[in-house]
C-alpha cells in the first residue's frame, strides 16, 4: 500500500459534496474560455502545454546531437546541420523552456493560492504575457526548424552580426519578444506578492516557494532589459551595419560578451531559484516537518538574486579580460556558493528526524539535491581561474550546466509537477509508475552526463561535430545514457496524460501538506477560495515541531 492510498482513505480529509461550485476546469468548456481566460490557473495550464511542446522539440534536437556524436568523424549530418541542431537545442531549452518553466506554470498557478489571493494583480496582463510568449517563441521556433540558425545560444558577435549566413535576425527578434513576456510576468508577481496577500499573511509567513519567485521576479525586472538592449543592438548591427560589436565597423566584440553575460548569468538563477523553491516545499511536505532555518533560506534567495548580478565575468576568463577583473569575478563566484550551500544543508537538516515518505515527488527532490550539488561544485571548479583556463568551452562546462539545469531544475520541475498534479487536475498519478520513471531518469541522466565531465577534462571542446577518435568510447556511453533518459521522460508524459481520464480522484490535500493551496478543493474553484482565508499560524505548521527550548 502506498502512502498516498492511506491518505485517500484518511477520514480527516475534508470532503465538500453539497453546494460545491464548479471548479476552475469545469466552470466553462468552450475553446474561447481557454484562450481568452484571465484565470491564472488556466493561464498556467496554457503555459504548461506550450513549454512541454517546446521541451519535446528541444529534446528531439538533443537526441539528434547524441545520435550524431556516436561517430567521431561526423558522417551523420553535415557540419552546418549539426551547428543548427545545437543552436536549436540550446535556444529552445533555455529561452523557451527552462526560463519560463517553473515561474510561468507553477508560479502562475500557485502564488495567488499560496498567499490567499483570488488571482494575480493583473489578470489581463497575465494573459497578454502568454500571447507575447507564444508569438515570440513560435516565430523563433519555426525559424530555427525551417531555416536554421547556427550561432549557438550565446549569439557571440561578430560571428552573429557579420559572418553567419543563417536566419539570425528573426531568431533574435523572437528571443527579444519573449523577454518582454518575462518582464510582464515578473512585474505581475512582484505586485501580487506586495499587494495581494490575504489578511495575516505576513512576509515571513509566506512559503519559501513564494520567496524564491519574488527573487526571480526581481531578476526578470532588472536583468531582462539589459539583454533586450544587447540583442536589439545585435539586430541593428546585422541589419543596418550600425557598428557596436564588429571591430571592422569600429565596435568591440567583448562588449557583447559583457552585456550578454550580465543578463545570462543572473538568468541561470532565474532557472535555478524557482526549482529551489519547489524542492523546499517538497522536502517539508514529505518530511512533515517545518523547514529548518526558514528565515535563512528566505534571505538566501534574495542574497542569491543580488550577488548573481556581480559574477558575469566568470564566463570570460580567457577572452582578454583584465587579470584583476578576472580575479574579482572568480572570488565573487565562490561567494555565490554560500547561499546555495545554505539551501542544501538546510534541506538535509529538514529531513533529519522527519516522518519521511518516499513518494515520487520526494524521490525527485532527493535526486535534485544530489545532482544540484555536483553541478554546483563543478561550477566552483570552473570559477577557479587556472582550472577554467583549461576547461572553458569544453564538455566539462556542458556537463556542469546539464547537471544543474537538467539534474537540478528539470527534476524539480518534474517533482513539483507530480506534487501539485492533484491540485492542478483533481486526479492522482499512478504512484508505482511514477517511481519507476524517477529512477530511470536519475540513472539515464548520470550515464549521459557523467562521462562528459571526463571528456571535458580530457580536452574535448564543445560544439564539436567531428572529434578525435580517442573520445569515441565515452561519447557512445553518453549517447547510450540519453536513450535511457529519453525513455525515462516518456514515462511521466504518458501516465500523466493517462491520469487525466483514468487517475484516481484527488482529495483536497493528498499529502497532508501545509500551505494555503491545500486548504481549497482539488481542483480549486475559479476564485481559488470560497472564503478569503485568514492566516494566524506560521508557515510549514507541521505536526513534528521543535520542543520549545530557551
Amino acid at each position: 500500500m502506498s502512502p498516498s492510498d492511506a491518505v485517500l482513505r484518511d477520514p480527516g480529509t475534508p470532503r465538500i459534496t453539497i453546494d460545491r461550485p464548479a471548479d476552475y476546469l469545469h466552470a466553462e468548456h468552450t475553446l474561447r474560455s481557454w484562450f481568452f481566460t484571465t484565470d491564472h490557473k488556466r493561464i498556467a495550464l496554457l503555459y504548461l502545454a506550450s513549454i512541454t511542446g517546446f521541451f519535446v522539440l528541444g529534446a528531439v534536437a538533443a537526441g539528434l546531437i547524441r545520435l550524431s556524436l556516436l561517430v567521431p568523424n561526423g558522417q551523420i549530418f553535415t557540419n552546418d546541420t549539426y551547428n543548427k541542431l545545437f543552436t536549436m537545442h540550446g535556444v529552445i531549452m533555455i529561452w523557451f523552456f527552462l526560463i519560463p518553466s517553473i515561474p510561468a506554470t507553477f508560479g502562475n498557478f500557485l502564488i495567488p493560492l499560496m498567499i490567499g489571493a483570488k488571482d494575480l494583480a493583473f489578470p489581463k496582463l497575465n494573459l497578454l504575457s502568454w500571447y507575447i510568449f507564444m508569438g515570440g517563441s513560435l516565430f523563433a521556433v519555426v525559424v530555427l526548424i525551417v531555416g536554421g540558425v547556427d550561432t549557438g545560444w550565446t549569439f557571440y558577435a561578430p560571428f552573429s552580426t557579420t559572418y553567419s549566413n543563417t536566419y539570425v535576425i528573426p531568431a533574435l527578434l523572437g528571443v527579444i519578444v519573449v523577454g518582454f513576456s518575462s518582464i510582464l510576468t515578473g512585474l505581475n508577481f512582484v505586485v501580487t506578492i506586495h499587494k495581494m496577500r490575504c489578511p495575516g499573511m505576513t512576509w515571513f509567513r509566506m512559503p519559501i516557494f513564494v520567496w524564491t519567485h519574488y527573487a526571480v521576479s526581481l531578476i526578470f525586472l532588472l536583468g531582462t532589459p539589459v539583454i533586450t538592449m544587447a540583442l536589439i543592438l545585435l539586430v541593428m548591427e546585422r541589419a543596418f551595419h550600425i557598428g557596436v560589436f564588429d571591430p571592422r565597423l569600429g565596435g568591440d566584440p567583448v562588449l557583447f560578451e559583457h552585456l550578454f553575460w550580465f543578463y545570462s548569468h543572473p538568468a541561470v538563477y532565474i532557472m535555478v531559484l524557482p526549482g529551489m523553491g519547489v524542492i523546499t516545499e517538497l522536502v517539508a511536505a514529505f518530511s512533515q516537518k517545518r523547514v529548518f532555518g526558514y528565515k535563512f533560506v528566505a534571505y538566501a534567495s534574495i542574497g542569491l538574486a543580488s550577488i548573481t548580478f556581480l559574477v558575469w565575468g566568470h564566463h570570460m576568463f580567457v577572452n582578454g579580460q583584465s587579470q584583476l577583473a578576472s580575479t574579482v569575478f572568480s572570488f565573487l563566484s565562490f561567494a555565490v556558493a554560500v547561499p546555495s550551500a545554505v539551501k542544501v544543508y538546510n534541506w538535509t537538516a529538514t529531513i533529519h528526524k522527519g516522518a519521511i515518505r518516499l513518494d515520487t515527488p520526494m524521490l525527485y527532490a532527493m535526486g535534485y539535491i544530489g545532482l544540484f550539488v555536483l553541478g554546483g561544485l563543478t561550477g566552483l571548479f570552473l570559477a577557479t581561474l587556472a582550472v577554467d583556463a583549461h576547461l572553458h568551452d569544453t564538455y566539462f562546462v556542458v556537463a556542469h550546466f546539464h547537471y544543474i539545469m537538467v539534474g537540478g531544475t528539470m527534476l524539480a520541475f518534474l517533482g513539483g509537477l507530480h506534487y501539485w498534479w492533484p491540485k492542478f487536475t483533481g486526479r492522482m498519478y499512478p504512484e508505482a509508475w511514477g517511481r519507476v520513471g524517477a529512477f530511470l531518469i536519475f540513472i539515464g541522466f548520470n550515464v549521459t552526463f557523467f562521462p562528459q565531465f571526463i571528456l571535458g577534462y580530457l580536452g574535448m571542446p564543445r560544439r564539436y561535430h567531428e572529434y578525435p577518435p580517442e573520445f569515441q568510447l565515452l561519447n557512445v556511453l553518453s549517447s547510450a545514457g540519453s536513450t535511457i533518459l529519453a525513455v525515462g521522460y516518456l514515462f511521466p508524459m504518458v501516465y500523466l496524460i493517462w491520469s487525466l481520464w483514468f487517475g484516481k480522484r484527488a482529495p483536497a490535500n493528498p499529502w497532508q501538506a501545509k500551505g494555503l493551496e491545500w486548504t481549497t478543493t482539488s481542483p480549486p474553484p475559479p476564485h481559488n477560495f470560497l472564503r478569503t482565508p485568514v492566516v494566524d499560524y506560521e508557515p510549514y505548521d507541521y505536526a513534528i515541531k521543535a520542543r520549545e527550548v530557551g
Binding site: 483570488k118 494583480a121 518582464i183 512585474l187 505581475n188 506586495h194 499587494k195 544587447a230 543596418f240 550600425i242
Partner: protein, 221 residues
C-alpha cells in the same frame, strides 16, 4: 454637463476589479505595477547611456566632433516642448481628480499635441541629418567618413533617439485612445485611476529625454 467651462464636477472613482478586495489595494497595485515597468524601461535606456558615456571617455575628440553636427537648437526646443507637455499632463491629472472632465480632456489633447510637435521636430531633425549626410548606416557617403569612431557615437545617437521616439509614438497613441475613452460618459466615475497611471508613463518619457538631451547633445559640446 453642458456647461461650457466644464466646471461642473463629476463623481470620481474606481470600479473594483474582481481580483482585488479593496479599492485602495487596486490603486496601489496599479501604481506599483507602473513603477516596476518604468524601472525596467529605465534599465533598457541605461545600457545606451552607458554606451554613450563610454564612447565619450574612449574617443573624446571624435564624439565632440560628432556632437557639433547635432542640431542643438532643435534638441533644446524639444526639451522645452516636453517639459510643457509634462505640465499639461499634470493638469489633466489634477482636473481628473476634481472631476472636471472637459478641462481634463483639453489638457490631454494639449499633451498629445505637444508630443506630436516633438515628433515633428524630431522628424525634421532627422531630415536635416539626412541632407547633411550624417546617416552612416545608409548606403551613402558619410560626412565624417574619416573619423571612424565618430560613427559609433552617431549610431548610438540614432538608436537612443529612435527608441525614445518609438516610446513617444506609443505614448501619444495610447493618450489619444485614452482621451477617446475619457470622453465617454461616466468614465471618471469608474476609471479615474487610468489617468493617474498613464501620467506616470508620460512623465517617464519626458524624464528619459531630459537625460538624453545632455548626454547626447550638450556634454563637452
Amino acid at each position: 454637463m453642458a456647461d461650457a467651462a466644464g466646471s461642473v464636477a463629476e463623481p470620481v472613482g474606481l470600479e473594483l476589479a474582481e481580483q482585488f478586495s479593496s479599492k485602495d489595494q487596486q490603486r496601489e497595485a496599479a501604481t506599483l505595477g507602473m513603477w516596476a515597468w518604468l524601472l525596467t524601461e529605465l534599465l533598457l535606456f541605461a545600457g545606451l547611456f552607458l554606451c554613450a558615456l563610454v564612447l565619450r571617455i574612449l574617443y573624446p575628440a571624435s564624439v565632440t566632433l560628432a556632437t557639433t553636427h547635432l542640431k542643438f537648437w532643435i534638441g533644446a526646443t524639444n526639451t522645452a516642448v516636453l517639459i510643457c507637455s509634462s505640465f499639461t499632463m499634470s493638469g489633466a491629472i489634477v482636473t481628473s481628480r476634481l472631476g472636471f472632465r472637459r478641462l481634463m480632456l483639453g489638457c490631454m489633447l494639449a499633451t498629445a499635441g505637444l508630443g506630436s510637435i516633438f515628433l515633428l521636430l524630431k522628424g525634421f531633425e532627422y531630415y536635416q541629418d539626412y541632407n547633411e549626410h550624417m546617416m552612416p548606416f545608409l548606403n551613402m557617403p558619410y560626412l565624417l567618413e574619416k573619423d571612424t569612431s565618430s560613427r559609433l557615437f552617431v549610431d548610438v545617437y540614432y538608436v537612443t533617439t529612435g527608441l525614445h521616439g518609438l516610446h513617444l509614438i506609443t505614448g501619444v497613441s495610447i493618450l489619444l485612445w485614452l482621451t477617446w475613452q475619457a470622453s465617454q460618459p461616466r468614465f471618471l466615475e469608474f476609471h479615474q485611476n487610468r489617468i493617474e497611471v498613464y501620467g506616470l508613463y508620460w512623465h517617464f518619457i519626458d524624464l528619459i529625454w531630459i537625460i538624453v538631451f545632455p548626454v547626447l547633445y550638450v556634454l563637452n559640446r
